[in-house]
């Protein structure tokens, strides 16, 4: 038993080192790599992923795990947790042939480069054959793993363990209906009709400075983390003490970089603070689901950085960073500016209210693709059709339509729903935090987020995967995923803003 335990911990350690290497290869690909490096990078990523797959699926590991699982009762709580969770992953991974894993990695790595080009040139046909390959691979993936229920459950499970199409279809249909209604209520108000975009254009140096102040107040430890620039902002972790997140100062205005930075910094804080100690380099030292991970980014981006007390603190700081640009701005005008509702095409720049509609749209399209209700070739038109239906506006081109997100180029089918799950979780956590901290608004309005960080650490970070996402939310908030809390949060925020 001792030998088996040693073996599985050593294997987890090595797989975690490989994970850090793969993270660096991926991060570099999206930040600094010269464009022609993509083919060789694909080979590198593919090799690492093959090595990991070999380790995770090895007979030896599997036998040790089965042996330990047979005597689960005599294991410590820690060992038992590790064995159970690892065995589940190993059994899934063992269903995938090594060649399939390698093909998936190679295909998606090349597709990422092509997606970038297609987006730049606004030409979906460049990307189409690659996406067709990826959809086929997703179907093969399901055929190999075959979890119970709808095929899409198998894809979901990699990101949101235990979540099902049935639950999502139920939750999303409520959410979609309520959001469309709320949007209609707001867009018919006088204030909405009079509303004009706030033409606040800060240059990249000013944007950089504002993000840097934000990150200082969020207590990002820059000896363990760094911020870089990429087309699509993301967060990744090369190790417990090396977390990278990105933003993008190029996309006009300033809102995009500021809120992306807040968002990714939320992910980064979670990665930096997540359970380690005796669980370091074990499978338990990971987030239990992407929904939980996303709840951490949404929390900072929306509940904190789009709150009124936040702007009572940051408004004067912006007067210093950009005195000319911000001379007419005050707490109230900032609060309104960063919370304007406006149906738009780009998910990552959507307001809090319309955001989940972008997600539901993608979820429905993914289901249609996998159920062969539509082809990849039909995707751009169907995308635009749904945008019109949900948001009342129609994309002018595929760059602001189907080509906007990198996820499908990475084969991440089943991933998008976690954005909406995380958003709902964030609103539930925020409500609970405010209940427990009567002085929350005062602290935020002084730029002091230390209690927030501590609370998130105590209620989320410190559990790693000791509990499931559902258990963490239930323990903290008294109930599981509940879209009504989110809708309530939105109404409480937006009714006064639009004088509904």
């Amino acid at each position: 038993m001792k030998e088996s335990l040693n073996y599985i911990y050593k294997e987890q350690k090595e797989v975690s080192i490989y994970g850090g290497i793969a993270a660096l290869l991926g991060w570099d690909q999206m930040t600094y790599m010269p464009s022609k490096g993509s083919e060789e990078r694909a080979e590198q990523l593919s090799l690492v992923s093959r090595l990991v797959h070999e380790r995770v699926t090895s007979e030896t590991l599997y036998n040790h795990l089965k042996k330990l699982n047979d005597v689960a009762n005599s294991l410590t709580k820690k060992d038992s947790l590790v064995v159970t969770k690892l065995l589940r992953d190993v059994e899934k991974a063992r269903k995938l042939p090594a060649e399939f894993v390698e093909k998936m990695t190679r295909t998606t790595s090349i597709a990422y480069g092509i997606w970038q080009e297609a987006r730049e040139k606004n030409d979906f046909t460049l990307f189409q054959p690659h996406l067709e390959q990826i959809v086929e691979l997703e179907k093969q993936y399901y055929d190999y793993i075959k979890l119970p229920g709808h095929p899409y459950n198998t894809l979901l499970d990699d990101y949101e363990e235990g979540m099902t199409v049935e639950v999502l279809q139920k939750e999303f249909s409520i959410l979609r209906k309520q959001l469309v209604e709320l949007l209609q209520t707001i867009t018919t108000t006088e204030l909405y009709q009079r509303q004009r975009p706030v033409p606040l254009t800060l240059n990249s140096i000013q944007q950089k400075e504002s993000c840097s102040i934000l990150l200082k107040h969020m207590n990002i430890p820059f000896d363990r983390a760094r911020l870089d620039i990429s087309t699509h902002p993301f967060t990744t972790s090369m190790g417990d003490d090396d977390v990278r997140f990105t933003t993008n100062y190029e996309r006009g205005g300033f809102f995009s970089s500021f809120f992306s930075t807040a968002h990714e910094a939320g992910h980064a804080l979670y990665e930096l603070g997540i359970l380690k100690g005796e669980y370091k380099d074990t499978i338990i030292s990971n987030a239990p689901s992407l929904g939980i991970h996303e709840s951490q980014s949404r929390f900072w981006e929306n509940m904190i950085a789009r709150s009124k007390p936040f702007w009572s603190f940051f408004s004067p700081l912006f007067q210093k960073i950009a005195p000319d640009e911000c001379k007419t701005m005050n707490t109230e005008t900032w609060y309104q500016a960063v919370n304007q509702v406006r149906p738009s095409f780009i998910r990552t720049e959507a307001d809090e209210l319309t955001y989940c509609l972008h997600v539901i749209l993608r979820f429905e399209l993914e289901l249609d693709l996998l159920e062969d209700k539509i082809t990849v070739a039909e995707l751009p038109a169907r995308w635009n059709q749904k945008v019109t239906e949900f948001l009342g506006i129609t994309p002018k081109n595929d760059r602001e339509g189907v080509l906007q997100d990198m996820h499908w180029s990475g084969g991440d089918f089943g991933y998008f729903p976690t954005y909406a799950i995380g958003t709902m979780y964030a609103s539930q956590l925020f409500r609970q935090f405010k209940k427990e901290h009567q002085t929350a608004n005062d602290e935020i309005s002084q730029g002091d987020f230390s209690n927030i960080l501590q609370w998130l650490s105590d209620h989320v970070y410190q559990y790693g995967s000791l509990m499931t996402a559902d258990e963490i939310i239930k323990q903290t908030c008294g109930e599981g995923l509940n879209s009504k809390i989110f809708i309530g949060y939105l109404k409480e925020k937006y009714y006064p803003l639009y004088e509904v």
Copy 2:
């Protein structure tokens, strides 16, 4: 035979992929990695180096190579070359236990971080225990490999195949004597006595712009390469189409970043242009020695970027980049400014004349350490003593003395001599190039370096390791390493500059 050939080419391909991954891990460590990431990075580098070592030393590869070597006569020229060279490397590597390789990687990876800290704090005692470990490991390395002759030959061989302590001691003692004499001649001239440093301080944006213009004229393809910033400039290659080089805009003045950039770009052009085709991903697609590699960087840094025609082209450009700072500068004053002889402490910023004295100093100290004539603890004092002896000046502290170079922290004993070898090779190549190209100066003075690049490609790049360093130089210049050519080049340049 076919099976064996397939096997050895597949292995070389994979080892080359691992090499690219290791290059990225190393590059990131020196450019972007957060400081606390160094321990986990050490684990990652150590794992990759162990995997490579396992592949290179495997029984299977060795058996295939021996089998092929036995029938060398019936192999094609290409296969025979690959087999001979690979077998030599494999036989060397098989003498090293995997644990030793891993220990070396881990030790040096940690030592690099400590060296940075020690240099910053100007505290050799921080670095001393790590350097002691490294010296011990170097001795063990020799014990494992044990090439014929002086123990130092074994260390040299990894960088400059075939070079020996005997040859170097002979060449360096001539060079040292001649350089010290030449330095004395110059420092006693009236012009030297009147000479004042040119106080040209460009800000980092101006430095960046000047480097960017230089690189454009050097024809660096930025879709296959990129320039970043690191403490010590270096060049590395993640793949045939992904070469990274670095500079440093921080170190006051402008000369440092400009000539570092020219230097590293010379390395990068070699990496980008080196023999591929049927030799892609084979051991032949590498430089035959570091001396040859260094000849390529020195060529651009000194023979081109410190030449008078170069400055007749660049002088007007600098008037545009920094009109205020450069208003008194013209071709002649630039040429004098970038060629001032002045004994100084930092090797990387030394002038062409004193540079090799810095190298010879390190070579002598390395020999003393390995022969136990001095201890690591005595190193700082011995360093300073030699600087005084060679250059007539004494370092005020270890930051400008023994702590200045990263090489020893990386365990690169035997590496420094290649800087002087490369410098001598560069002068030999330059003489030959000018002989063959009467219009060279005209082209340089028009910022047109395309013929130079083509000539270097035809005479150096295209051979990869098809020939040894010595063979390449002999074929191109009619003779091997010859310090007299270098001394002649220096006299021809510096006598007029100082009116000797």
